[in-house]
Symmetry: C2
Subunit: 217 residues, 2 copies
DNA sequence: GTCTATAGCTAGATAGAC
DNA sequence: GTCTATCTAGCTATAGAC
């Protein structure tokens, strides 16, 4: 907040990054003014242009940088071998931990895709597809080995990612559950979802799916 | 798009509502200008103020109206009696159908909470809690009867809602799956998640949850 | 209810001194 | 690298004629 006297490149750059993450996560990219951002950092608005060419480039740098980090960290965490069960467990634990550690970046990566210009959006979407594919591969493998019983692995991929990514919309440090606790609970739910089955033994599943639409419009 | 000559209150009102939904869902509330909105409707920007007092009130009306519809439709769809299994199935089918029918409203209700002023936000959050509680009650009931095996029903509530609500981020009419197909697939996944268990019989679950954090920072 | 016109303000971006 | 000053454009909201 306080003004930093003199020239201090790298420190200012990092301060801008952090303030930008916070402001965009809180108010959204379009609602964040560069004057706000500069004030948060403790510099004048014009000085920001020593760190990016325009506001859009700033957003893209934030998102792209995060996606690169995410991919690198995932690759380091994933198991090359092992049962689909073990691999899905590892994926889930990684994903949960990452969302708990960096909720702002993750949230922005989902919520501000709409604010990216077409070329920038295309680049990010491609990276996101790669990430989805890594989960999709695990699910496909599990279905092939019979470990998982999934009606549709593509839908399961989207469902699991949405379920896990939802964490960053409500997680606050210091809450009821620790990272370990969250990992355990979410791993349990994801595995149960993937293993599916066990259904027939419990009850006859009601299959009537009548026209709920009628109650909606 | 085309200019509608003369006075036409109710038609204009509905046109504004629809255009607003589309623009906010696509570009976001802060990024949508009232000039854009007026152009989409085919009137002049100043004329919008015959339909709301200011931009914030417009957003709040959209979100609040949708939440009221959602609650009414849910109450009509839910089962008062029956097994937790049947009730959860019904809830899921309803939720999926609603999201497929009105993806824009639903998306805005999640993504534009940040754009609501404090009082308006509080009102919407309260309505959202009611909705969550209806799902939470089903899960609690299922756990009490032994139908469901959930480590944490609050987390399960959030997980299921995130999973289902994610639909509105990728669903497009005319896609691979029909509403019925989506209902069946998601009902299967939600029930599997809620029933949990069946785990011990499949494989020894790897419990190591080592410091993945190290690979993140 | 719609129009035209405009007030009053804030936005992103640039220029040039230090 | 930071500052001050400013340009141009866009925004929300209002006033008053029809």
């Amino acid at each position: 907040m306080a003004r930093i006297a003199g020239s201090s490149g790298p420190r200012t750059e990092e301060a801008i990054r952090r303030a930008g993450l916070r402001l965009i996560a809180t108010h959204g990219y379009a609602a964040m003014s560069l004057r706000q951002l500069a004030a948060e950092v403790g510099i004048q608005q014009g000085s920001l242009y020593n760190y990016f060419r325009n506001k859009q480039e700033f957003l893209f740098d934030l998102i792209r940088g995060h996606m690169l980090d995410l991919h690198a960290a995932l690759d380091a965490a994933l198991l090359a071998e092992g049962s689909a069960d073990a691999r899905l467990t590892r994926f889930t634990e990684f994903h949960v931990a990452y969302h708990v550690e960096r909720p702002q970046e993750v949230f922005i990566c989902y919520s501000e895709l709409r604010s990216l210009e077409p070329d920038n959006l295309a680049a990010v979407v491609a990276m996101r597809r790669d990430y989805e594919r890594k989960l999709g591969d695990i699910l496909d493998h599990g279905r092939a080995t019979g470990e998982f019983r999934l009606a549709d692995t593509r839908m399961a991929t989207l469902a699991i990612l949405a379920m896990l990514s939802g964490i960053c919309t409500w997680y606050k440090p210091g809450g009821r559950l620790s990272t370990d606790g969250l990992q355990e609970i979410f791993t349990g739910m994801v595995l149960a979802l993937a293993r599916g089955g066990a259904t027939e033994t419990v009850a006859v599943r009601p299959r009537r799916r009548e026209a709920l639409r009628a109650g909606i419009g």
